[in-house]
């Protein structure tokens, strides 16, 4: 690699990593929003993936190629426990139940000694290279693109527009909702494991209410017409604070306003383009 490129890369390595991780998180939000559900558990799923993967690495000594897929187990189990009852009800219940999740899990991380308490867990080997992170992101994008183009994607869009009509035309709405929630938990869990193994430290406060809402702002800014929208939204909202460093403490104010304006005035997001789909 050219020397200047090497320098540039080392200076901005954190940014490169967080761009990739936030892209994955935005996709995890996209999966549920694209099917007309609102889950605010992405940060909590990410935390579960991060904590469980770090335990596997540090306490059990598992190799990373095994840790990464296994990091999805805890988030998926949690998604099933919370999603099972709430998905029978209106979307509001899922949103409310998942908002609480992050804060409750934080209370557990803080109070269980094996999870490091307030100090968190550190000394995590940096096994997730930026290359791996972007490979996972690209794979997720490709899968979501293929699914989106298929009949499954059409069913998701039908649910988003009108769940009752979709059900009437033969879409198993309940199973689809549980499916998208599980897919979302898998993506967020992977993001958690990758970010934990790229930064060497995780703490109980990284996965609460604010990250959850920030992840929503990625997807709403980009728009959910295709999986590329949320990734674009995540990139914009990750890069902007770097440009306006002086206003770093107003970053959350900005993210919040982005959500308000996007829902009120820009319902299709920045990237309004809808992915092409095979004729039925």
């Amino acid at each position: 690699m050219e020397a200047w490129l090497d320098d540039l890369f080392w200076t901005y390595q954190n940014l490169v990593v967080s761009l990739g991780i936030n892209g994955l998180l935005a996709l995890s939000m996209y999966v549920v929003l694209a099917a007309g559900q609102l889950s605010l558990g992405q940060a909590a799923f990410m935390g579960l993936g991060a904590y469980s993967s770090v335990l596997m690495t540090l306490a059990w000594g598992w190799p990373f190629w095994l840790v990464l897929p296994a990091s999805c187990v805890a988030p998926v189990a949690f998604a099933l426990a919370v999603g099972g009852p709430t998905l029978r009800l209106s979307g509001v219940y899922l949103a409310i139940a998942t908002i609480g999740m992050g804060e409750v899990l934080r209370a557990i991380y803080l109070n269980v000694d094996a999870l490091g308490g307030a100090l968190g867990l550190s000394g995590i080997p940096e096994q997730a290279s930026p290359l791996l992170i972007y490979a996972v992101l690209a794979a997720a994008l490709a899968v979501l693109w293929l699914v989106g183009r298929s009949g499954l994607g059409r069913a998701m869009e039908a649910m988003r527009e009108d769940a009752t009509a979709a059900e009437a035309t033969g879409v198993d709405v309940r199973r689809m909702r549980l499916g998208v929630l599980v897919a979302s938990a898998v993506l967020a869990g992977l993001a958690g494991a990758l970010s934990a193994h790229a930064t060497d430290f995780i703490g109980p406060n990284d996965y609460g209410f604010e990250p959850a809402v920030t992840i929503l702002s990625f997807a709403l800014l980009g728009g959910v017409g295709s999986p590329f929208g949320p990734v674009l939204g995540a990139s914009v909202l990750t890069l902007l604070p770097e440009v306006f460093r002086d206003f770093a403490n107003l970053r959350l104010v900005f993210n919040g306003i982005v959500i308000v304006l996007a829902v009120l005035f820009l319902p299709r997001g920045l990237l309004a383009w809808r992915m092409p789909r095979r004729a039925a």
Partner: protein, 292 residues
């Protein structure tokens, strides 16, 4: 020991009930999950803090702070939700808008006021206490209980006993039909926002008194309790919210007393998930066709 814990739990639960009441009223009538609601709680607490620091006695500062929070509620409701209400947007749209707004509001309040915990002036409530049958209750706690009782009583009287309450219930039942019957639903929506905001604001003052700690994010922590209470009590159900609030207060205090204080939030959430699995319409709820 147990009697003391139960008394503390009921007192804490009374404030939870008061807080959740406004939230459930707002959902029942306006059909929005308004997450900014927790911010009204913070606003009420800060208004009372500033008024108390300016030398106002509590008897004047409490209602003034509640009214102030109510005005904030009307303004924010108008700013954020009028457009969606006119477009008959679904509940998730209003939930997302208020979610974004509340993130911005907390972050702005923290940037402006700083994250540190403030204390009310020490002479605001006399430091005395009453002992009876082995239970010790401070004047502040008695005041909280009295204020909660009075506000809840007033609200029930308003909703159940007046023409205005009839209009509110009509709007909760069918907003379009209510409008056709000559009810000014836009004005009524503003009024309901005001009432809910004042209840949250009053809750903020009373919780601020109970724990003597006021900071910008206090509303967010309260909101999590609010969710548990309104879902366990049944969304939109006033009496359910009352009972569930008291229940949560007692369970939290007992958990903190006999298990670990850090786990009290987790216990509330465990109850929430359990109720969703077994009785999704709420512990005391009736089946509600609109829920589907």
């Amino acid at each position: 020991m147990l009697a003391q814990q139960l008394a503390n739990g009921v007192l804490l639960g009374a404030t939870y009930a008061l807080f959740a009441l406004g939230f459930t009223l707002m959902f029942g009538v306006l059909r929005v999950i308004n997450l900014v609601y927790g911010f009204y709680f913070t606003a009420g607490a800060f208004f009372s803090l500033w008024l108390a620091q300016a030398g106002w006695p509590l008897i004047a500062a409490l209602p003034a702070a509640a009214v102030g929070a109510g005005v904030v509620a009307v303004a924010l409701d108008w700013l954020l939700l009028t457009r969606l209400r006119r477009a008959h947007a679904d509940e998730l749209a209003s939930l997302m808008v208020t979610l974004g707004a509340v993130l911005a509001l907390y972050a702005a309040a923290t940037a402006w006021l700083g994250p540190d915990i403030r204390r009310l002036p020490p002479d605001l409530v006399g430091g005395g206490a009453v002992d009876a049958i082995g239970v010790r209750v401070t004047f502040a706690q008695l005041l909280i209980l009295a204020a909660c009782g009075a506000l809840v009583g007033l609200l029930v009287l308003l909703v159940r006993g007046t023409t205005l309450g009839l209009a509110i219930r009509a709007m909760a039942e069918k907003p379009d039909a209510a409008a056709l019957m000559g009810i000014d639903t836009a004005r009524l929506a503003a009024l309901v926002s005001f009432i809910s905001g004042s209840l949250a604001g009053a809750g903020g003052v009373l919780i601020g008194l109970n724990f003597n700690a006021i900071h910008p994010y206090m509303g967010e922590q309260m909101m999590l309790r609010g969710f548990v209470v309104v879902i366990v009590g049944g969304l939109g159900d006033i009496f359910g919210a009352l009972l569930a609030g008291l229940l949560l207060g007692v369970v939290e205090v007992l958990t903190a007393g006999y298990l670990a204080s850090g786990l009290k939030e987790a216990v509330g959430f465990a109850i929430l998930v359990l109720v969703l699995w077994t009785r999704p319409a709420g512990l005391f709820g009736r089946a509600d066709a609109r829920r589907a």
